[in-house]
Every structure is written in structure tokens, then in C-alpha cells.
């Protein structure tokens, strides 16, 4: 056992359908250390959001965790009862969704939503909760927070609403914040402000962040480590600097080729020919083999598992790379 805050071990998420079981997440393992920022990247449909939903216990039926375990500070949370899991949501793991325009209930004021959340997790009076809410809004950068708190969500712009969402995710002081593409729906001009805010405010509170994004540029600036997902599996995971400057997995290398230049802001392009396979058509062997220039015999027969590549804990799932001999201590580290 490590001192990881969150440990995901061999996670497997399935959707039973009429035409058989679809495996959307397959054998995914990673750790997040306290206070660490883990970036999660991958094309659309790679399973980023599902991983987040599985961790926070909000997979939508019929989706279910079919294997593996999720540990929060060493304790399993994937098999908790509904009520026990509810107490963890918001309180120990916070979540920020993609679209601030739809994340807030339009019929309640910001104050009502903040106070309700604060009082769900802490036994304090309405007026104390309100004070706390105002301080928090102030901290996330809402001007005139004491007055604006009684406004309805539609009175705020998109960027301001995402700040409110961040305040809501953080109001019970969680140890981990899962931010699922928190800036994708926002105006380009405010994207970096929101990312900076998440990074700062979480650092301040010692909260770890799982930052899901399409944007390699954001990862490069924000994350400590990065996990590259492909077709529901981890292709490569490791410290950001290593992965970005010297990607090993051919898919990661392709993604790096798509990092935007300074003048180009749309980071969503993936310049690898072909598309990610659908869940019901994942090829045998390495899931990336139809698009991989370096594929060889073995890639079509056997599936590569992530192997440790260096002392910093980088892991790559590709037959081109062999595991290095390392001390056992490193092996255990995700």
C-alpha cells in the first residue's frame, strides 16, 4: 500500500446491452497523490468522463463497475452503500462539470445552492453557512460577492458561472477535485483564468485534482503527471515533463504532434489518421494497432499491459517497450 490519496486498481466499467457487454474501461490503474494534479487526456470517447463518474460513484445505470477497486486513502469506496458514498461526494471528492450554463439549477439563487451544499456536509447554521459562501465566492473571484450571492445563475456570464460551480465543488473542502473538461464550454479568453483558479485554489487547500481535458497545452502547464487514455485503457502515464518531451507510446507521440502552436488555440485536433474504435469493435491485441505506424505481428495478437519504464514511474502499454528492472518499491507505485 502506498500513501496515495486515490488509488484506482484494474478498474473495469461495463455496459450490459442487448447485444452483449460493452467494456468501456478496461484494466485502468493509476494513483493520485495528496495535492497532486493528474491530467487525463484522450480523444472523445476514450473513457475519461466514465473514469471520473466511476470514482465518484455516479455511473449511470446500466453502466457498472465490473472489476477492480477504487481506494480513497487506502479504503475501498467502490463497494460502499448509497448513503455512505453520498457522504463522500462533495465532502471528500468534489466534481466540476464541463458546462457551467447547465450545471446550476436555474430556479435557485447561488446562495441557496451554496448554503444547501455547505449545510449538507457541515452542521452549521444558515447564517454561518452564508458567511462561508460569501467568502468562498469572493475567493473564486466573483466581484461584490455579498451582493451577487442572491442572484440567480442566469444573471452570471459563463466564466462567472464556472467560478460559482468551482465554489460549489469546493465548499465542503474535498481532498480531491475531479474537473471534467472545466473550460471546454467557455470562451477562450477566460479558459486559462479558470484553469489557474482551479490550480491555485486547490493548491491552497491541499486538494488533489484530476483534470480531464483534451488540451495538451493545459496539461503541460498545469499537471504534475498525465495519464493518456485510449479506448478505455491507459496507453501511457507518467510525469508530465517526461511524457510531453519524450513520449514513448506511439499514440502519445501522435497527440504531442497535435499540440497547438502559440497562435493556434483549438487544441482539439488529433492529427493521427483514423479514428478510435467503437466499444463493440476494439481490435484484438493492441487497441491502437489499426492506426499505429509501428505495429508488428505481436500487436495484433496480444494485448500490451502498462509496464514501468523508468525510476520516475512512467508506464507505457506498448510492445515496443520492455519493462525496466526496478526496485519493488517503484513497482507498487501507480
Amino acid at each position: 500500500m502506498t500513501d496515495a490519496l486515490l488509488s484506482v486498481r484494474n478498474l473495469r466499467v461495463e455496459f450490459p446491452t442487448r447485444r452483449g457487454v460493452l467494456t468501456a474501461i478496461d484494466d485502468v490503474s493509476f494513483d493520485i497523490m495528496p495535492g497532486e494534479v493528474l491530467g487525463v487526456v484522450g480523444e472523445s470517447g476514450a473513457g475519461k468522463s466514465l473514469t471520473g463518474a466511476a470514482i465518484i460513484g455516479l455511473l449511470e445505470p446500466p453502466g457498472r463497475i465490473a472489476g477492480g477497486e477504487i481506494l480513497l486513502k487506502g479504503e475501498r469506496i467502490d463497494n460502499l452503500g448509497a448513503e455512505a458514498m453520498r457522504r463522500i461526494r462533495g465532502k471528500r471528492i468534489g466534481m466540476v462539470f464541463q458546462d457551467p450554463l447547465t450545471s446550476l439549477n436555474p430556479l435557485y439563487t447561488v446562495a441557496q445552492q451554496l448554503i444547501e451544499t455547505i449545510r449538507t456536509h457541515a452542521d452549521i447554521s444558515e447564517s454561518e453557512a452564508r458567511k462561508k459562501a460569501i467568502a468562498l465566492l469572493d475567493r473564486v473571484g466573483i466581484p461584490a460577492a455579498a451582493r451577487r450571492i442572491d442572484d440567480y445563475p442566469h444573471h452570471f456570464s459563463g466564466g462567472m458561472r464556472q467560478r460559482v460551480v468551482i465554489a460549489l465543488a469546493l465548499c465542503a473542502e474535498p481532498e480531491l477535485v475531479i474537473a471534467d473538461e472545466p473550460t471546454t464550454a467557455l470562451d477562450v479568453s477566460v479558459q486559462s483564468q479558470i484553469i489557474d483558479l482551479i490550480k491555485e485554489i486547490c493548491a491552497e487547500r491541499g486538494a488533489a485534482v484530476m483534470l480531464i481535458t483534451h488540451d495538451m497545452g493545459v496539461i503541460a502547464e498545469t499537471a504534475d503527471r498525465v495519464a493518456v487514455l485510449y479506448a478505455g485503457r491507459i496507453a501511457e502515464i507518467g510525469p508530465v515533463r517526461q511524457v510531453i518531451t519524450a513520449p514513448e507510446h506511439p499514440y502519445t507521440a501522435g497527440l504531442m504532434g497535435s499540440i497547438p502552436t502559440l497562435t493556434q488555440t483549438d487544441a482539439r485536433l488529433v492529427q493521427i489518421p483514423g479514428a478510435m474504435p467503437r466499444l463493440n469493435a476494439i481490435p484484438q491485441g493492441c487497441a491502437f494497432n489499426p492506426r499505429c505506424e509501428k505495429a508488428f505481428d505481436r500487436c495484433f495478437k496480444e494485448r500490451p499491459a502498462p509496464v514501468l519504464r523508468d525510476a520516475d514511474g512512467r508506464k507505457v502499454a506498448c510492445w515496443l517497450y520492455d519493462a525496466i528492472d526496478t526496485p519493488a518499491k517503484e513497482q507498487a507505485n501507480g
Binding site: 465518484i56 455516479l58 448509497a82 453520498r86 457522504r87 463522500i88 461526494r89 462533495g90 465532502k91 468534489g94 466534481m95 462539470f97 458546462d99 447547465t102 450545471s103 446550476l104 439549477n105 436555474p106 430556479l107 435557485y108 439563487t109 444547501e116 451544499t117 449538507t120 456536509h121 442572484d151 440567480y152 442566469h154 444573471h155 452570471f156 456570464s157 460551480v165 460549489l168 465543488a169 465548499c171 465542503a172
Partner: protein, 327 residues
């Protein structure tokens, strides 16, 4: 806000004028009132004299103006059939219809919303599936058939409840009520169920569909992700958002209960305005028909107005005045 209310009231007046025009047209195009008033043997001269006396030879607009002015004062003339002032007739029968409509409306709303919420939250339970199946029957059976079936089971076979009439009534300040006597209350049950069943199933299906929609929204997911309890999420957040669009349709449904009462009142020989209307149609009693038409229109207009104001009260996004100044 005030401007909005005034605008809505003006719209309502316009609607009422159009309905008045239709009602008024009844007099001119449905039968000849003179025929209804005098015997076969009356001479043409007598008829012309009566026509002049009734103002039927005046220009169209002035006749219409007279009609509207009188209608606004509650004067719809004399019933051809019963030779009584129409307004008196309607007022004497209105309590029966309103009490029936009120009970049906409350039944339809309470059970409609209750079942709708239940079936949305327990989407795949067998109770939900049973309710949904039964409700399909409720929507597809014609009202009179439901009434006849209920009479057959509960009045004829089981003999639990009366099959016709209002039972004993008590008069309080000109209002005859069946609420205060045991037979009055028992008599209300079957007709109220008959009348409310269709609206209930509609409301239930609407609430269910809307609630399922709301439960899929991001703000519900985010509410769950913040660890709010199921009760807070389902009833504090989802139900409130569900009710916003439901209010409009529900309001209209309740309005149509009064209109639909015609069939139920006929089946149960309920002494209300609906039964009065049916008899008037049979005898081409145009003043009563016209007054009934105007009354139903008025009910719809008023309910619509209330619904709009409620909508406004519930949904902060409609209160644009404040939003416009801040961003």
C-alpha cells in the same frame, strides 16, 4: 411586471370579444329565434313586429354592441325553452358543476403529480409499470364508457354508491352545496372520478416525462455530485424544475374539466350547467348556448391568466427586468 399583467389582461379581453362574436353569430345562424318564440300560426306581420321589438332588424354592429354590453352585465336574455333569465338558470346550476369540477381537478392534480413523480423515480418497478399500463386504459377509454363502467360496478353490482343526481344539498347564501351531507358527498365520488380520470392520466404522463427529462440534466448530476441527499435532489431540485412546464398544461387541463363536464353530467344526470347545455342544444335554445360558450371561455381565460402569473412567480428567468441591468 405591471405592464406584463396589463398586457395579459388586454389579451384576455380580446379573446373574450372574439368568443362573444361567435356566440352572437349563433343567434343569427342557428335557427330563427322568432320561430322558437312564437307558434306556427303567428302571422308574418306579428313576426316582423316582434323582430323590430327585439332589435333584430338593427345593423349588425349595433346589435353586437348591445349583446356585448348586456353580456358584460351578465344579461344573456331569456331562455327560449324555459322562459327564465339565462343568467338565473346558469347561476342556479353552477354550484353543481363547480363542485364536481373542483373535486375532479384536485383528484386529477394530486394523483396525477403523485403517480407521475413515483413512476419517474421508480422507473422500472412493477408498481410503476402497472400504473403506466392502467393509465393507458384511462387515456384510451371514452369518458362516458368509464362512467357507465363505474356505475355498473359500484352502483349496480356492489351498490356502494349512488348512480345519479347530487344527493341532498344544503343551501348557503344562494350556493347549493353537496359537500355537507353524506349523500351529497357519496354522490360526488363516481362522477368526480369519471371526470378526473382522463386529466389525471394526462397530468401523470406529463409529470413523468418531464421529470425523467429533468433527472437527466447536468444540474441534477451536479447536485448529486455535491452529495445532496436523494430527497433534496428529487424533491427539492428535480420536482420544482419539473413543475415549471407542467403548470401550464395542468392549468389548461383543469380548465377543460369544466368543459368536459358535459359528458359526465349527462351520464350521471348531474344537475349542472353541462347538462343544461346539452338540453339547450337539443331545443336550439340559443341564449343558453351562447351564455354557456361565453362562460367556458371566461373560465379558460381566467385560468390561463392565473397560470401565466404563476409561471412568472416560479421561474426567475422570466423576471428579465433585473437581469438586463446586471451581467
Amino acid at each position: 411586471m405591471l405592464a406584463y399583467i396589463i398586457r395579459r389582461i388586454l389579451q384576455s379581453v380580446l379573446v373574450m370579444l372574439v368568443v362573444a362574436l361567435v356566440s352572437f353569430a349563433l343567434f343569427r345562424f342557428v335557427g330563427d329565434p322568432i320561430n322558437s318564440m312564437v307558434g306556427q300560426e303567428a302571422s308574418i306581420a306579428d313576426r316582423e313586429a316582434l323582430r323590430d321589438q327585439l332589435g333584430l332588424n338593427d345593423p349588425f354592429l349595433s346589435q353586437f354592441a348591445t349583446f356585448v354590453t348586456r353580456a358584460a352585465q351578465g344579461d344573456f336574455g331569456i331562455s327560449y325553452r324555459l322562459q327564465q333569465p339565462v343568467m338565473e338558470l346558469i347561476l342556479s346550476r353552477l354550484p353543481a358543476t363547480l363542485e364536481l369540477a373542483l373535486v375532479s381537478g384536485v383528484l386529477a392534480f394530486v394523483f396525477g403529480v403523485g403517480f407521475g413523480v413515483y413512476t419517474a423515480l421508480r422507473r422500472n418497478g412493477w408498481v410503476s409499470n402497472t400504473i403506466m399500463t392502467v393509465s393507458l386504459i384511462g387515456v384510451s377509454l371514452p369518458t362516458f364508457l368509464i362512467g357507465v363502467l363505474l356505475i355498473w360496478v359500484f352502483a349496480v353490482e356492489l351498490q356502494w354508491l349512488p348512480s345519479f343526481g347530487r344527493g341532498e344539498t344544503v343551501e348557503i347564501g344562494g350556493w347549493t352545496t353537496g359537500f355537507l351531507t353524506p349523500t351529497g358527498r357519496a354522490s360526488l365520488i363516481l362522477p368526480a372520478i369519471t371526470l378526473g380520470l382522463y386529466q389525471m392520466t394526462l397530468i401523470m404522463r406529463l409529470v413523468r416525462a418531464e421529470m425523467l427529462e429533468v433527472l437527466r440534466t447536468d444540474y441534477i448530476k451536479f447536485a448529486r455530485a455535491r452529495g445532496l441527499s436523494n430527497r433534496a435532489v428529487n424533491f427539492g431540485h428535480a420536482l420544482k424544475n419539473t413543475m415549471v412546464p407542467v403548470i401550464t398544461i395542468t392549468g389548461l387541463q383543469l380548465g377543460s374539466i369544466i368543459a368536459f363536464a358535459i359528458i359526465t353530467e349527462t351520464v350521471f344526470q348531474w344537475p349542472g350547467v353541462g347538462a343544461l347545455f346539452i338540453n339547450s342544444v337539443r331545443f336550439v335554445d340559443v341564449p343558453v348556448m351562447a351564455a354557456y360558450l361565453m362562460m367556458i371561455a371566461l373560465v379558460f381565460v381566467i385560468i390561463n391568466l392565473i397560470v401565466d402569473l404563476l409561471y412568472y412567480a416560479v421561474d426567475p428567468r422570466l423576471r428579465v427586468d433585473r437581469a438586463a441591468t446586471r451581467h
